[in-house]
């Protein structure tokens, strides 16, 4: 780390900021590599070859266009779920209800699609995207309102809302909306006009040999747009400023004239909307129907994704991609090596813990330097010029 710049000239400041950026990027990378080393030790401890384990894992994730497509496909719902947690976190809210919100968003999306069998594509797709976001958003706004109005802790309420959402959608699918004559607890398929196209043909036209069967679809692009949107709302709008202010110190924000209650409800609403957008991948992009219990914990993984990405939208993107790599690679390991499935989960978890720990160590060391530097910078340029860290 560079020594604190005492002189505080403009070029010096920007150079330090540049070094910070490099450390920002390198720190997680180093942490990931360290994690792979420890993971390798775990694999070796049960007598399997770490080389074979990791070669299979990386082959699963990077061998060809198909694998990379699967990584992006697996990362897509995690981006939405991670954004949901990160966004609420910026307002000081711990939204553990992503799982429930994505179920409701997906169900509302499917239901709306089934009500509009003849709608044209240009109309149906935007309507369904909005329906997904609205479903998840409104579901999250309930605990948001309870928090803002009555001070009931959002953690307990979002957890309970998860149970309600899973149970409610299960009930509706099994008892009311199940496709006639079928055992599988799923609804009928949505109209073709509501399906998001797969990206295979697009990539093929660019010469990338992504097979037509690859499930990667337009929802991934929506996820990228959502990352940008989350960043834009947080950093370029008044609401985002208010959200961050409330997150830093609600009392101070209130003194400054921010309507804290309204901000909390809106933060939860938007957070849930991001979770609801999981429907664009799971319903509109991949399954084209609502399958009971399809998620298997995407909403909860979102918490890890957000923490790993340090609650910043772009951090969430990279964390989700890492999870995508691990999940896609894990499938390959499970299929083609004798490493037991349980151990793959252990290695995944160890990797994530070490990445979080490594990140934190590097961040603390850097912040230690940054605090002393900021003091001297403050006198020179009169304001905090460095990028926000948390």
């Amino acid at each position: 780390m560079s020594s604190p710049g005492a002189s505080g000239t403009a070029t010096r400041v920007s150079r330090i900021a540049g070094t910070e950026r490099i450390v920002d990027v390198l720190a997680p990378l180093v942490a990931v590599l360290a994690a792979f080393l420890v993971g390798g030790l775990v694999v070796a401890a049960i007598g399997e070859s770490p080389l074979r384990f990791y070669s299979t894992l990386f082959r699963g994730a990077f061998a060809n266009a198909d694998s990379v497509g699967l990584v992006l496909f697996n990362a897509t719902p995690l981006i939405f779920a991670g954004l949901a947690v990160a966004f609420a976190f910026r307002a000081g809210l711990f939204n553990i209800g992503g799982e429930g919100q994505l179920y409701i968003g997906s169900f509302v999306c499917t239901w709306v699609a089934l009500q509009l069998p003849g709608a044209p594509r240009v109309l149906l797709i935007p309507v369904l995207i909005l329906a997904s976001a609205a479903g998840g958003g409104l579901w999250a706004a309930i605990p948001g309102y309870l928090k803002a109005r009555l001070g009931v802790h959002e953690v307990i309420n979002t957890i309970m809302m998860n149970f309600i959402a899973v149970g409610l959608t299960s009930y509706l699918v099994i008892n009311i909306f199940k496709e006639a004559g079928q055992m599988t607890p799923q609804t009928a398929t949505i109209p073709i006009a509501g399906e998001l196209p797969r990206l295979a043909y697009f990539f093929q036209s660019l010469g990338v040999p992504l097979p037509a069967a690859n499930p990667l679809n337009v929802s991934f692009l929506i996820a990228l747009a959502a990352v940008w949107l989350a960043w834009f709302i947080l950093h370029r709008t008044t609401l985002g400023y208010e959200i961050r202010a409330v997150g830093h110190n609600a009392s101070a924000a209130e003194c400054a004239g921010i309507n804290v209650r309204r901000t909390l409800v809106l933060a939860m609403l938007l957070s849930g909307a991001f979770a609801g957008l999981v429907a664009t991948n799971e319903v509109m992009g991949f399954r084209h129907r609502f399958l009971d219990n399809f998620s298997s914990g995407i909403g909860f993984m979102g918490i890890a994704v957000a923490l790993l990405g340090r609650n910043s939208p772009f951090g969430v993107l990279f964390a989700a991609l890492l999870f995508g790599v691990l999940n896609t690679g894990a499938l390959e390991v499970d299929l083609f090596t004798d490493v037991p499935r349980e151990l793959i989960l252990v290695v995944q978890a160890v990797t994530i813990i070490l990445v979080v720990v490594g990140n934190e160590i590097v961040r603390r060391r850097r912040e230690g330097g940054a605090t002393s530097r900021r003091r001297s910078e403050a006198t020179a340029i009169g304001q905090d010029g460095s990028a926000e860290a948390s």
Partner: protein, 337 residues
């Protein structure tokens, strides 16, 4: 300098790992007949449905020279991806264990016409024509359940019998419907208590919940419980042992799990079906289509062995056998729901 080492060392090691593996990848023998099996929720070791399929696969491996791989998808989308990867890896037969594979296996089978697929508990669609490379195995569980229902109806002293299902889905309702009909056939005055462990696939993998439900039913005077709940049923059998009542096993023969307390088991011969399908593929007489397996085909039945011989009298066996014949002859119409 220390920081540099910290940065570079992992990189060096990683590159070693990556390059080292190139050579360590074992050469694939293209001639060996390869069978892949993809499991349902609960997976290998559920002592029930999945294990029954796995036993069939192991029996083939004992009798013939085959290579086999099996795996359990972690997330829903992995079902299709896993099937697809096995097909790409040159597997000859790929078996999906459980109705949740129906949709994925349909689409993968269409993309790989040279690979043979089978799906256990296939979810058929009306008027559907399956491709030549896909067999949908369908069991008439209600017929087997009817027979264990007869056993329960005859054995119960309190006139109260119970049913504990795993996930509350139509497939399991078939077990329930057959069982209730069988119990009423044996004893028209019997009362049946029904419970389900949940509405998610997790309901097939929750022995604690199974035990809790069973304890509740036994506490209310039920003395025979039939479970159709995969791994969850281990708890039901445990509760039978603890309270001195009877349980009826499912899918695999579970009589041995608590000798003296497991009255019988409704066996679903998934193992036989798997064995037969792989054999057909090996001998090049594999044919696509839906295959229904009931009492007549020995696809379902009830288990009699040393463990439960003392629990079921010869008169009872006679009555059950009579019912079996009537079902095969079409004289008893077993309800499906």
């Amino acid at each position: 300098m220390r920081k540099l080492t910290f940065l570079v060392l992992p990189l060096v090691l990683l590159s070693l790992v990556v390059t080292g593996c190139r050579q360590s990848t074992p050469s694939q023998d293209a001639d060996v007949f390869k069978v892949g099996m993809v499991f349902d929720v609960g997976g290998k070791g559920d002592k029930s449905f999945n294990d029954s399929a796995y036993r069939g696969l192991l029996r083939v491996a004992d009798d013939f020279e085959i290579e086999h791989r099996e795996f359990e998808p972690g997330q829903d989308a992995d079902r299709e991806t896993g099937l697809r990867k096995l097909a790409q890896a040159g597997f000859d037969v790929i078996i999906g264990v459980g109705f949740l594979f129906s949709d994925s296996i349909r689409s993968v089978a269409a993309d790989y016409p040279d690979v043979r697929f089978a799906c256990v508990d296939f979810d058929t669609r009306p008027n559907e024509q399956l491709p030549d490379n896909l067999v949908g195995l369908v069991f008439r569980e209600e017929e087997g359940s009817f027979l264990v229902g007869v056993v329960a109806g005859l054995k119960s002293k309190t006139g109260r019998v119970g049913f504990i299902g795993g996930m509350d889905v139509p497939l399991i309702h078939r077990f329930e419907a057959g069982y209730i009909a069988g119990a009423r056939y044996a004893n028209p005055a019997v009362s049946v208590t029904v419970g389900y462990a949940g509405s998610t696939p997790q309901a097939f993998a929750d022995p604690a919940k199974g035990k809790e439900l069973a304890m509740l039913q036994y506490g209310r005077g039920v003395d025979v419980i039939y479970h159709a709940s995969g791994n969850t049923g281990i708890g039901v059998i445990e509760a039978a042992r603890e309270t001195g009542n009877f349980a009826i096993g499912v899918d695999s023969n579970q009589n041995y799990m608590a000798p003296g307390y497991v009255l019988t088991s409704m066996v679903k011969r998934v193992d036989n079906a798997v064995y037969a399908v792989v054999l057909e593929a090996l001998e090049n007489r594999f044919e696509g289509g839906v295959e229904e397996l009931g009492l007549a085909e020995d696809g379902v039945g009830y288990a009699m062995d040393d463990y439960n011989a003392g629990l079921i009298s010869e008169d009872m066996v006679e009555m059950v056998e009579a019912a079996r014949m009537k079902i095969i002859a079409g004289e008893i119409d077993v309800p499906r729901e």
